[in-house]
Every structure is written in structure tokens, then in C-alpha cells.
């Protein structure tokens, strides 16, 4: 067995003339088995693993550490490298996805090439999932480490390459999180492109009346920020635009932006809205959650930035009344979609969320009975700039309700819809009940909840305030919701789980606290930027604790609700955090990229060109003169698609070479021989 493996490495030695000397050098492997406290040590007999591995050919030293990643653990590795003159290091611990960089840096400090590290996962892939089978887990750990040891002997040195970073940033989504990122980056002196799909920036927050926990007027605090974004010389707002394509890599993203036509010249439009006055078409007003109407030509909302009108072509009847009314002659009915190509160094995704839609499932009768609305609709009714001028009325008769019921966790914490907690619904329900109670003290409010969650500063105080104002909190989920056919009142049967009795309640209006769910933007940027989604369907960060705004893609960061439910302060902090993380690259003007690419051995390539169309990144160029394939390193992302396709074996993927993978495969099943 060992003979075969060493033969393979010798083969490779003669193959790569440049590294002959290094290759015939004896492989001196050090193996460091981590106990990870009791995470590994509590299941896997780490000592037995180390003892067994110590008998393998080429292994010069083994060591067991309580925490290999700690200072002392790393010092142990460095010391053993020196003592035993090691030239390969195998760490058997947790996941390379989180800890590989740590140990690469550790061995590099000792003058070893960082790619001489082999990382074996015996925690996530062994001890944690075989908790009750300690012996088998130990045997499996031995196999896994042996695979790693054999692979490590064949590892070759690689150089991570440095790439220049364009000192410009793209922020996708101009909600409160994206705006914060843009402002921070711009204030640090970097050019920022802020792309927003809607005709105005501001996001969800621009629609609220007041914001918890302190109930400040939402647009009064957001408005100035929006204006600040517009005034900042370093920010270029691209509203009513979307990202259509992204190409390139950290430091060098080429992005194509599509600008949807507004059918008017934004440089001429003054936002006076004279055009809307004459437009004969009225359609439901999307900004007001479909409550009330707007015209086919409209300014999105009074505080919109940019404060410019646009024509909704779908509903426009081409009467041309607006063209006549516009004093500045801005209207242009023939406007076309236009595109801009950008080159940026970093990308921040802040595309936000949408609220859960209770209509298709008719949750609690929504969509069947008039007087059931969502919290977002309630927010617009409460808002002085909303469809009713701030009067909360019920849809069936436009009367102001007295008895208002609130149902929490709609589309959240429910295995039929979403199992996760949307985080903000308890608080906004508390806020909404409070606001209406303050406006009209004669109203009567009942909040039906599963648990009330008020974890952050001033949240519990806000909850107490609601109770002191007389808002009633009833622990239980409605089991039956019916409409009284005559009065259109809503009758709710709910189990009061604290009192242990069924209650029959009647409300004039029922408000559903719908949760936070992924919007279309999430799917779009997930595909464009190659991000992962988490179980809740929102985007996934690189590490839930230690890299909450990074992604697995270098140079791409996430802020706000796009990466999980959040309140405004949290979304804003993430916006700033992204700007901070991005500045590291923008300021250094360079990024380190992985050295893993495909490489053609020209002596073996026969010029069949099978590989050329295989590459998703067009990184393989064919040299007609030489009749050889060539891999353009800067374009190659190192997937290995072409390598697997090359019929001659001329293509190899560095760090995942055939002999390296085969050595692992060969060593998977050895324990049977040993055990029998």
C-alpha cells in the first residue's frame, strides 16, 4: 500500500522538473489530533487515533491537544515542525471551512508552504454525528486521518496570488441597511454605486409610521438620511435599476446594471406631480400595500429620493395628457431600457425581505373576510401620509374600529409555513397597539401571542408601556376565525393557555403580524453572486458567529434582513459592518486569492479541445499555433470541471490533483484489513 503511494509521488517528481529536489526529499508528516474540548475527545478516542496514525509510514510525530487552534496548540505545531523537521502537517479537528486559514498561517510562519497543510474533519463529520457509537467513531476517525496523511504526502507547494482591487463598491438594495453601507463607504472616500430596484431609495422603513421601541417618526429620521445619500458626491444612486449580470472575482467584479425606463427625463423632471393631477388612470397604490390609489404617472411618495415621477407603462393608456401638463417637457414615451457596465472591487448585498403573504392559504381568514388586514397595511393606515391620513379604518365600512385584535406569528413559528421566528413581529405589534391606543384611547386592544419576545434595549420597557396603556395580552393562537355576516365583525375562538379556558372574542378589526420571508431579490443575487441560502430561505453568512456579514465569496458581504430577520438598529449596524469589512480590501487595494487552479501539462495535451467548452468561465484558451490548451489563471476559479473532462490527463487541478485524490480514495477502506 505505502509502496504504491510513494511510487505515485515519485512519478510526479519526475513529471515536474522544477520541483524534483523537493519531491525526492523525504516526506516528514506531523499529525495533530484535536480533542476540541469534549466535542471530539468525548466521543473519539483521540489517543488511539494518534497511536495508530503514528505507525503509518512517513509520520514522524503525532500529538493530541485539547484545543489545537488555541495559542498553545499552535505553538505545539510550530515547535514540532522545528524539532522533527516536518514538511507536511495534518490537523485532524473541525471544519476546514472555518479553521483552515488559521492553520495555514500557523505553518506558514514556520517557513512551510501553506498548502502543505491537510485538514481532516473529525468533529462535524465524525464525533458530532456518531455521538453514541464511540468505538465506530474512533475507527472512522482513524480512516479519515489516514486518508489525510496519505494525501498530505503528495501535496505540492502553491502560491496564493495577489490581485489588485478596484477601489469602488456596489451596494445592491437601498433600504436602511444598504444606505448605511453606502454612506460609510462614501465618507471614507470610496466611490459607491447604490442600486435600488424601486423608483425610490428608503426600503421598508420609509413606509412605517413610527418605529419601535422609542416610537420616533420613521420618515423623520429616515428622510434626512435619504437626502444625505443623494447629496453625497461619492454615491451614485441607480434607482429603478437591477443587477443583471456579475462576472469576475474579488477586487474585479464586472457588473451589468439594467435601468428600467421611467418614460421621462429625470434631469428635467422636478417632481412637481402636476402630471399626476391630469392623469385619468387610477390603480391600487403599491406603496400603500394596495390601499387607496395612485395614477399611472406618479411620484413614488412625497419624500422619495430621487423625487422624480415615473410612468407605469402597464397601466398607461397613452392619452398623452401628462406630456401636455408637464411644464419642463420631461415626458418621453419612447424611452428604452438602458444598461451600465460597472467595474467594482466589492459588492454588498442588502436586498431586504418581504412580508409573509397570508392570502394564498387564507391564514385566519385573510382574503376571505374584509376586516382582516396585515400589519403592513395597518402601518400604512396609521401613517399620516397614508391612504386615510392616519385614520385607522376597517375596510368593510371605513369606520374607525373600537375593538382591535392582533394575531402574532402569522407565517412564523409554524411548521406549515416557516418554522423560524421573524424577530420583529412581537415588537411591531406592541408598537402598533400602543400607537392606536394613544391616538384613540377609547379603543380596546387584544394581542394573541405564543410568546412575547423582547430581547433588546428598551424593548421590555415598550412592552410594559403597552400593558400600562391597557393593551391586553392573551397567550394563545386563535383556533377559529369567523365573520359575522351582518356586522362584518370578526369572531375569534382562542384558547387562553394561561387561564386554561376557551374564549370567544369579537373584534371590529383583526391585524395579522406577518413574518419576514425572502423576496425575489434574494433569489436573484443568490444566483448572480453564487451565495448560499440558509434553511429559512434568506442568504447565508460565512460564519453565523464570527463572520456574520461576510459570505463564502471573497469581496461579497451581506447586510440587513437579506441575511435573516432583523430590526432596524441591527440592520444599520450590519450596514456599517459591511462597509468596515469592505474597506479592508478597498484600502489595501489588493486581495489574496486561492492558488487552486487548473494547469495544463503541454507535453501531454494533444489539442483535442474537449476542455475548452467545459469551462463555465471561458478560462481555457486554445493556442492554435501550438495546438495546445492554455488555462488563463486569472479567470480560472479552480472548479476542476475541465480536469475531469480531459481525456489525456493533461489537465490537473492544483491541490486536488489526481494522485492526491486517488491516494485518499485508496485509503478509505483500509481498516477492514487491519481489523480482520
Amino acid at each position: 500500500m505505502f509502496k504504491e503511494v510513494s511510487e505515485m509521488s515519485d512519478n510526479k517528481g519526475t513529471e515536474n522538473k522544477g520541483t524534483v529536489e523537493k519531491d525526492i526529499e523525504e516526506k516528514r508528516v506531523g499529525v495533530f489530533v484535536c480533542e476540541c474540548g469534549v466535542n471530539i475527545g468525548g466521543v473519539v478516542n483521540t489517543k488511539a487515533v494518534a497511536d495508530y496514525i503514528g505507525t503509518l509510514h512517513g509520520v514522524k510525530v503525532t500529538s493530541v491537544n485539547k484545543f489545537t487552534c488555541s495559542d498553545s496548540g499552535q505553538a505545539d505545531i510550530q515547535q514540532k515542525i522545528k524539532e522533527h523537521n516536518l514538511n507536511r502537517v495534518v490537523v485532524a479537528a473541525c471544519s476546514p471551512k472555518t479553521h483552515e486559514p488559521t492553520f495555514r498561517a500557523c505553518i506558514e510562519q514556520m517557513g512551510l508552504n501553506q498548502y502543505f497543510l491537510e485538514f481532516v474533519n473529525i468533529r462535524d463529520h465524525c464525533s458530532w454525528i456518531h455521538m453514541w457509537e464511540k468505538e465506530k467513531a474512533t475507527e472512522k476517525a482513524k480512516d479519515l486521518v489516514r486518508m489525510g496523511v496519505e494525501r498530505s504526502k503528495l501535496l505540492e507547494p502553491l502560491q496564493a496570488s495577489e490581485v489588485p482591487v478596484t477601489d469602488k463598491a456596489l451596494v445592491i438594495g437601498a433600504g436602511v441597511a444598504g444606505m448605511q453601507s453606502a454612506l460609510d463607504l462614501a465618507d471614507m472616500g470610496f466611490q459607491v454605486y447604490l442600486v435600488e430596484k424601486e423608483p425610490s431609495i428608503g426600503g421598508r422603513m420609509a413606509r412605517f409610521d413610527k418605529v419601535f421601541p422609542t416610537n420616533d417618526c420613521s420618515i423623520c429620521i429616515l428622510g434626512p438620511k435619504m437626502v444625505e445619500v443623494a447629496r453625497n458626491k461619492n454615491i451614485k444612486i441607480m434607482s429603478y435599476s437591477e443587477v443583471k449580470a456579475v462576472d469576475g472575482y474579488v477586487g474585479n467584479f464586472n457588473v451589468k446594471i439594467e435601468h428600467k425606463p421611467r418614460y421621462l427625463d429625470v434631469t428635467k423632471c422636478t417632481g412637481c406631480a402636476k402630471c399626476s393631477e391630469v392623469c385619468p388612470v387610477e390603480v391600487p397604490y403599491d406603496f400603500n400595500e394596495g390601499l387607496g390609489t395612485r395614477k399611472a404617472i406618479f411620484v413614488p411618495f412625497p419624500q422619495a429620493v430621487p423625487l422624480r415621477a415615473l410612468i407605469d407603462k402597464e397601466n398607461c393608456i397613452n392619452c398623452k395628457a401628462c406630456a401636455k401638463a408637464c411644464a419642463s417637457g420631461a415626458i418621453n414615451y419612447d424611452m428604452q431600457t438602458s444598461y451600465t457596465d460597472l467595474n467594482v472591487g466589492v459588492i454588498i448585498g442588502a436586498v431586504g425581505f418581504k412580508t409573509y403573504d397570508p392570502e394564498p392559504r387564507h391564514d385566519y381568514g385573510y382574503g376571505l373576510y374584509d376586516n382582516i388586514i396585515t400589519a403592513m397595511e395597518f402601518e400604512r393606515l396609521l401613517n399620516a401620509a397614508g391612504p386615510t391620513g392616519g385614520h385607522v379604518v376597517r375596510p368593510s365600512d371605513c369606520k374607525e374600529p373600537i375593538r382591535v385584535g392582533f394575531v402574532n406569528c402569522v407565517g412564523s413559528r409554524d411548521k406549515n409555513t416557516n418554522i423560524y421566528c421573524s424577530g420583529v413581529c412581537c415588537m411591531y405589534t406592541i408598537k402598533n397597539a400602543q400607537l392606536l391606543k394613544e391616538k384613540r384611547p377609547e379603543t380596546d386592544h387584544t394581542v394573541m401571542y405564543i410568546d412575547i419576545r423582547t430581547p433588546f434595549r428598551a424593548y421590555e420597557e415598550s412592552y410594559n408601556r403597552s400593558r400600562n396603556l391597557g393593551v391586553k395580552f392573551l397567550r394563545g393562537r386563535p383556533v377559529e376565525v369567523k365573520e359575522d355576516p351582518v356586522t362584518k365583525n370578526i369572531k375569534v375562538r382562542v384558547e387562553d393557555t394561561l387561564a386554561g379556558e376557551m374564549r370567544n372574542l369579537e373584534f371590529d378589526l383583526l391585524v395579522l403580524a406577518t413574518g419576514i420571508v425572502p423576496n425575489e431579490g434574494i433569489g436573484q443575487i443568490q444566483q448572480l453572486l453564487k451565495l448560499s441560502k440558509a434553511a429559512d430561505g434568506l442568504l447565508m453568512e460565512a460564519h453565523p458567529k464570527l463572520k456574520p456579514v461576510d459570505t463564502t465569496i471573497d469581496g461579497v458581504y451581506l447586510a440587513g434582513c437579506a441575511s435573516g430577520p432583523k430590526d432596524i438598529p441591527y440592520a444599520v449596524s450590519q450596514g456599517s459592518a459591511c462597509a468596515g469589512r469592505a474597506t479592508i480590501l478597498l484600502k489595501n487595494k489588493k486581495a489574496i486569492t486561492e492558488g487552486i487552479t487548473a494547469v495544463v501539462e503541454p507535453d501531454v495535451c494533444v489539442g483535442c479541445q474537449v476542455c475548452v467548452p467545459m469551462c463555465p468561465f471561458q478560462a481555457i484558451k486554445f493556442d492554435e499555433k501550438e495546438n495546445k490548451a492554455n488555462v488563463v489563471k486569472a479567470l480560472c476559479k479552480g472548479c476542476g470541471t475541465c480536469v475531469a473532462a480531459c481525456p489525456t490527463g493533461a489537465l490537473e487541478q492544483s491541490h486536488f490533483k489526481n494522485n492526491q485524490l486517488l491516494a485518499q480514495i485508496k485509503n478509505v477502506f483500509k481498516f477492514q484489513e487491519v481489523a480482520a
Binding site: W132, P616, F617, A644, T648
Partner: protein
Amino acid sequence: MNSGTAAVKPAQAGNGWEPNILAFCCNWCSYAGADLAGVSRFQYPPTVKILRVMCSSRVEPAFILKALKEGADGVLIAGCHIGDCHYIDGNKNAEIRINNTKKALVKLGLDKRLRLEWISASEGLRFSEIIKDFTEEIKKLGENPVKHKIEPQIPSRASEGRRHVCPDGIRGFPLPKGNRDADERRFNASANKSAVNVQGSE
């Protein structure tokens, strides 16, 4: 490997024989999914060993044969869901290759021992369920009958001095017509691709 053959425990139901499964997991989705299964402590049988590749498309038919020869009772290739591959559509290539390999394995009666699954980084539970399911299936099939008997054609290396070319085959496997067509489509599509379009050929 000579000593190994004799020492392998015979496959008999009830003697506690446990299958050996090798799983190739792509770095971006499935490996992370396996990590999440660990973090969430979703228990599954210790029958599987995971080998990390950057993309499911790196897995060559020869690797699968090699694994079966060396003693794998089952081979799992796991990648990102279609549309989610970190390298745009590496997994589509993997699908073509693995399906072709599966066809080739029919002759050897080994096709049921090869599985291709899409497992995302958030599907820790799914990862453990698939391992459990595959383990059960392999248990029903029993031990891999051709262990140590097949000789996969590993592509010649420069050092071996052979320049073995099989334009019609990927590493010793017949390249079915479908694959060539797909390649052609890809080629045509990629020729039309604009420099900034990363949506790929749809």
C-alpha cells in the same frame, strides 16, 4: 493492496457487516451541508467517509471505479442544487458524467451503488437522511461483489511515457452521444456569451 483482498470480512447478513460508503462532497454546498449536520448533531451511521472536492464536476468516472475497486460498497456524489453551483453549472456536467458512469456500471451490476444527490449548505438534515437511506439500500444489496477485481483506466501520466488518447471517451468510458451533443450546445452557447453574462447558457 494484495494483502487486503483476503482480509476483507465476508458479507453476511447479521454478522454486523456495515457498508462502506465514500462520499465526494463539493466544497460549497454539500460539504457545508455535512458540516451543518454535524453542528446540528443529526446522527447518521458511521458508514460514510467524506472526501472534499471543490465542485461535484471534479469527480471523474475513474475515481468512482477506483473507489468501488478499493472496497467501497457505495459511492455518493453530492453537489449544489442545479442553479446553485458555485461555478455556475459544474453540477450539470457532473450530472451528465455520473449518469453515464451509472449506465456503464449497469453491466457490472453496480449501478445501484452509485448515487448523485444535490444537498445545499442548509440541508444538514437532508444530508443525514440521505446517508441513512443510502446505507439501508446498500445493506440490502450486500457487500460490493467486485471489490479489488476491477481495474479502472486511470489516464496515463506524462511520466509513464504513454500518450493514450481516446477522443471518444472520457477516461476509458464510452462518451455517449448525449454528452457530445451537450458539449456542442455548451460550446455554441459559450461562443455567444457576452463577457459579463454569468447566467450561463440556459
